[in-house]
Amino acid sequence: MKGIVFNSFVSFIEENYGLDFLNYLEEKTGPESEFAYTTIGNYSSSEIVNCLIVMSEESGRSVNDITINFGQYLFQSLAKAHNKFIEKYDNAIPCLYALENEIHKQVRKMYQNTSLPSFDVHLNDEGDELSMLYLSKRPMADLAEGLIAGCIEHYGNSCKVVREDKEPFNGTHALFTITNI
């Protein structure tokens, strides 16, 4: 997984749970990277998953909830880093629609060894309903849900998001239907 996600994850913990809690997580989970992430590096997603489990145990909130929250936070970080792309759109639906063809295509070109999730997207004729079929090697459908929510929040749209997990894949396959309301 790309370092930008890990850097954002560290900031998310520091901002929402404090620096002490971050140090506590390092002690508790013993990540190989010691949380010293760079945006251009690649790291194991298990470092995030282990932290999420400890965070859930300590806070009493489910891993899914925390992951969705992190997804919303991650979108804001990505939006700051890729401001030009975000500014091209004034609505969440066309932005999400362009994600696969523009952002993921460029990322795949730059980092050939990366394994990004893919989205099979379909926009209805009216342009107000988008279906996104999330497919990934990692069970990060919650993170995708958080990112979608973060995108809608960023543009200030009112959208209804319906998530349908594809059994028995447990978070690696999910269909999101986003409708303008």
Binding site: N23, Y37, T38
Partner: protein, 553 residues
């Protein structure tokens, strides 16, 4: 953990991350360097490849500057007067291309265009433009000057061929008119002369006959002018190599067509001679070949010419149909000329895989002014001229055609078998017997009657034949019994000169009077100095003929 300890840990993480980033960047920069070397090598190879292709290529970016260009482009487009290079703006230098109405300009879409540009009076190029969705223009140019010149040449040759066919048709019409009017004037002149002689001197009726004779004189001058204009069209036959005729015809037509002409001729036929008029025969074959050309619209169309010799040959439509079109249905056929060829003949066949013709079209094929070509592109006289030539050469033409399968056309000529054309005659005395009979041969009935009357008035016995064939037969039957022979020159089939040839081959010196409107023809002029041969220009001057007959007597 106290705050300072926490912060120290954070700083330690940041320092570690920075060191790691530096190490990654160092490794990436090495990778980048290696990649740039690879790109440089690939660029050199690409440039080498581009400089060695025949097309000129230039790639223009969205700022209208050159991203990529090969040497060939500069050579083709600028004729090596300017070297456009990477980074140059093209709006000024390539304005002929970018300002062309077909040049694709819509942003963010993929488009293609192809157009031709005339760069100057003598240079043409073909441009193929491929515009990518991210606004790159890939422009390929080819020098098509040679193709344009060939097209121009082809168009000029087609026009020339068409003009010459038209002129030939007009000439032929003039020739026919002159010949027929000469005969009519001859009869009027002759009978008016009889009136002048028989009527009372200075009477009103005699003055009318003089007016008729004066009008005939004026008509005679007009016809003379017409004949002089057209005399070169008159058929002069000689021994010719048929292979030369076919090869020259192909050479003429080849420049005006795209189709392949395949010519098959066995070597032993290279020396075959036929009796004919080379100009007319070349015109016959160019007419047939251009018809084949016009019938073939497909680029894969083919015209096949075969040469074959036969001991005996009678063109048979049924046999030919089976041989040429196998089991095809709707085979149409027509033929003209002699139905059976003499022993020893040569056949030239022309076959195309064009649109073919229906029976209805073939039935009219030899009619003058009948054409299936577009208005303005066909005179309707091409096949009529073929028909005339075939008739004059005692040959045969047979045409078979099937719509959408093509047309097969076969022309057969007698081969010159020996030096003696007619049956040998017994050697006779040079002095004709004291006969009172004069053989008259003329295809014009009125003129023949006039000659008969004149001959009778002078005390001779006329034996008149309006068919030259019948006249020749009468001569062959008894070659030495004539006081004199008076013959028209231009007659269908056997001409007056053929009768004279027969007569002289038998070593007889019977006086021969040749009446002709074609006094300027080389063949006729050559007879002027031959012993016992007298030329009389049509319409005939009665007094001159009378003088001649008196001198013979």
């Amino acid at each position: 953990m106290n705050d300072i300890a926490s912060l120290e840990k954070k700083i330690a993480r940041e320092i570690k991350a920075r060191q790691e980033a530096e190490s990654i960047l160092e490794s990436l920069s090495e990778e980048l360097y290696e990649s740039s070397l690879l790109i440089e090598k690939t660029e050199i190879k690409l440039k080498y490849a581009l400089d060695n292709i025949l097309d000129g290529i230039v790639v223009i970016d969205s700022y209208f500057t050159v991203s990529l260009i090969n040497n060939q482009f500069n050579s083709i487009y600028f004729n090596s007067t300017l070297d456009l290079a990477q980074g140059d703006n093209v709006e000024e230098h390539l304005k002929d291309i970018v300002n062309n109405p077909s040049f694709p300009k819509q942003s963010n879409v993929s488009e293609q265009a192809t157009f031709e540009i005339q760069l100057d009076a003598s240079r043409w190029i073909l441009c193929k433009i491929n515009k990518t969705p991210d606004d790159l223009w890939i422009i390929l140019v080819n020098d098509i000057t040679w193709r344009k010149n060939a097209e121009l040449e082809k168009s000029k040759l087609s026009k020339k061929l068409y003009q010459s066919q038209k002129q030939e048709a007009i000439g032929r019409m003039a020739s026919v008119i002159a010949h027929d009017f000469n005969n009519i004037l001859g009869a009027i002149n002759g009978f008016a002369n009889f009136l002048k002689e028989d009527l009372e001197t200075n009477s009103e009726l005699q003055s009318f006959s003089l007016k008729i004779l004066s009008a005939v004189d004026r008509g005679k001058k007009i016809i003379q002018n017409l004949s002089e204009f057209n005399y070169q069209k008159i058929s002069e036959q000689s021994s010719i190599l048929i292979l030369e005729v076919i090869e020259e015809s192909i050479e003429i037509v080849q420049n005006t067509i795209n189709q392949k002409i395949q010519f098959n001729s066995p070597d032993y036929l290279g020396k075959i001679l036929i009796d004919g008029n080379k100009t007319q025969l070349i015109r016959l074959f160019t007419n047939l070949l251009t018809n084949s050309r016009d019938a073939c619209h497909d680029k894969n169309a083919q015209i096949i010419i075969n040469l074959d010799a036969h001991k005996e040959y009678t063109p048979d439509v049924n046999l030919l149909s089976k041989k040429v079109f196998k089991n095809a249905k709707n085979i149409s056929a027509t033929s003209a000329g002699v139905s059976k060829l003499p022993a020893g003949c040569i056949t030239i066949s022309i076959q195309d895989n064009g649109c073919g013709m229906s029976q209805e079209t073939l039935d009219k094929a030899f009619e003058p002014y009948f054409t299936t070509k577009d208005k303005g592109s066909g005179t309707g006289l091409g096949m009529y001229s073929v028909f005339e030539t075939v008739s004059q050469h005692e040959s045969n033409i047979t045409i078979l055609s099937t719509p959408n399968l093509g047309t097969y056309c076969e022309v057969s000529f007698p081969i010159i078998a020996s030096e003696v054309k007619y049956l040998p005659t017994e050697k006779t005395s040079n002095t004709p017997p004291h006969s009172n009979e004069i053989l008259l041969v003329d295809d014009d009935q009125n003129h023949l009657e006039y000659l008969s009357t004149l001959v009778m008035r002078m005390g001779f016995k006329p034996i008149a034949h309006s068919s030259s064939y019948e006249g020749l037969k009468a001569l062959m039957k008894s070659p030495n019994t004539w006081k004199c022979i008076i013959s028209d020159y231009m007659m269908p089939g056997i001409k007056g000169t053929d009768i004279l040839d027969y007569l002289r081959k038998g070593n007889t010196t019977i006086p021969f009077i040749l009446c002709t409107g074609y006094i300027t023809s080389e063949k006729v002029k050559a007879l002027a100095d031959v012993e016992n041969v007298h030329l009389l220009e049509k319409p005939i001057d009665t007094n001159r003929l009378r003088e001649l007959l008196e001198s013979i007597n």
